[in-house]
Amino acid sequence: MTRPFAQPFEGLRVLDFCWVVIGPMTTRYFSDFGAEVLRVESSLRPDVIRHGLPFAEGKPGTNRSGYWANYNSGKLGLGLNMGDERARHLAFRLATEWADVVTENFTPGTMERWGLGYDALREHNPGLVMFSASMLGRGGPYDSQPGFGPVLTALSGHTNFTGWPDRVPVSPYGAYTDFLIPHIAFAAVCAALDHKRRTGHGQYLDLSQLEAALYFAGPPVMDYLANGRIQTRNGNHDPEMAPHAVYRCEGNDRWCAVACPTDTEWRALALAIGRADLADDPGLATLDGRKQREGELDAAIEAWTITRSPDEVMQACQTAGVPAGAVRDCRDLFDDPQHTHRGHFVFMDHPEMGRYASDANCFQLSETTPEYRRAPLLGEHTEYAMRELLGMPEDEYRMLLDEGVFE
């Protein structure tokens, strides 16, 4: 890979206790762009997605999860048995003698119990930037409540806003908010690093996943606060646009989304589907008129889409200037022309999994090319971390390895 400039975070050292998704996706930005990210894993709290589906060739194994690999590419793997006081002391030394940044997303109190709370670390590493992302933030009556990513969509309102008005709400797929927050969490850690560069002062960042997630579902909360109105889910309809729906196309479970932001797109759509009569119907010339007859219009559009493929529908609408998007399933995504053009999926070789797909970043930089490297095996770089980073003599390393301090 050509590297016209050094990577942006070259020389930055991140001691990464993050697990599952929100934390690892945040710190992957650093490993993609040149930082040394040392991922600490402990059998006391094994990363649950190391054993999360899917596995390469369908065979389970600690180093075989495609889910885990996606969020940990380019990191170094350090296995410490945190139940052993010596392991906790080695983690403390890495945090105070080596790291610029320490990151974690455990239930509040976990790092403190290991002697790795911010106050303890700051005393020995005053410039440290420490980032914590707990489910509900530190302090408050529920801060130690157990939980995990997927429940946050229930708390943030995303679940209530996903579904049909006549049915039980569904949730966005998976631990949805885990994939929203890392972008801004990473920006906050970068801002803290900039502040440290200029002032010498480190800091502690306490992020509540719920609070951050609310920024992705904020307008209806503002509506309630200002007007007392309780908005709810609305299928695919939209108060400001009609037609606005996902229409069945030719094939099994194939669909295309079509939206008419203004009267202009509506007229263009009506003509594109061969319904000049609807295009010229004065009762449909305004949003209010179309809203009143939305069911009738949806049926007319679907009568046209049902004999066409999603891509045919999309192309015909786009040619007419009407926003439309084929519904992609996960197989389609690998063939999507735009994702292919942008190189969205990056393929890497892994000693146990073989070739696997990882997501690229969602932005491209004109002068910086990220360096995507495969995810580490559990404990793959333990010896490196102990010998090279902490200067541990070989006999001590062997002894601690034999005594189960490393894993």
Partner: protein, 408 residues
Amino acid sequence: MLSPYRVIDLADDRGIFCGRVLADLGAEVIKIEPPTGDPARRIGPFHHDRPGIEGSLFWQLYAANKKSAALDVESDAAREALRRLIASADFLVESFRPGYLDGLGLGYDDIHALNPALIYVSITPFGQDGPYRDFAATDLTGSALSGFAYLTGDPDRPPLRVSVPQFWTLGGAAGAAGAMTAHAHRLNTGRGQRVDVSCQQALTRTLSHAPQFWEMNEIILKRSGPFRPIGDGRNLRVNFECADGYVNYIQPGGATGGRGMTALCEWMDEHGEGHPLLTNTDFGAYGFGQLPDDVLDAMSETLEAFFRSRTKRYLSEEAIRRRVLLFPVNDPADVCSYPQLAARGFFRETEAPDGGTMTTLGPWVKSSERPLQLRRAPRLGEHTEEVLTGVGFSPDEVADLRASGAAL
């Protein structure tokens, strides 16, 4: 934290969140909007349901902490002022269709020549090039093309988006991440660059492990309603009806899930509404999705009946006390009364568009060193004069711009 830096924010409602994030982190963010007001100001609902250029709650939320300079970028005189502002800035954020700013002499190449250290962030549905570059997009069509919709919804109905738009908000967040990556590069080299965000890619990144399921195991995951698929075609119910709404209960398996499920069984047994099969199952011994069929069936019917007759407030508070992994499906009113948010002081008072006070969302991260500030969204053109005189315009020159309609 970012107080030395200036951001020129040309993004409309589609890229609006990027500048908000940078402003929250301390940057001076100057929103450049047309003298008629940014399109985001027209998005309802409005404060006290009174439409007007200052009342949009969407604007109030996402333009907080920014300044407003009202300039008509299609007028030559205003564009010259804007170029001077851009020369003084560290970041520029925009969300126009690809090519639009090139036509105004404000494209990346023009601006890079003017200010080589500037970071130029473009937030568009599909990025600056490629076959979809010029495709029209909305939140719904973006949810479709990113793969989000296919995985979301009931199996017997069409794929779904979230009724609160996600596509652009996520693109704006990704823009902030790209801006800070480019900033790190600038600190090393002194050089700015372009950040080209694809909202489609940002939303595809929310699909969890679903693309890997196809790539590794050739399995196409499908939408499964209020259930989660747990393999072998079986489903685990996760959203349940209760007396006044819905609750979420996911039995995750393993030790934590086992403790929670055992506590839930005790709770139901106390009310005589438990099920002997559940009471006698060692849930901690099963990983997620590994429960036997008869246990799964008994769980569905017993939990559905127990939850249906109780309120979400009772269920969720009792669940906290008993350490059961049950949570309310919050509607906006529930969010605003959620005790944890109140205890952390999340909601804040700020000045309302009508001069009174209003409650709004507080900072999304707590910093021990530089607590994030919260200033109300700017009024249209509130900072035009301050901003222009800051780059050398005299008050008379500002008055001339205003008189010509190029500024407000």
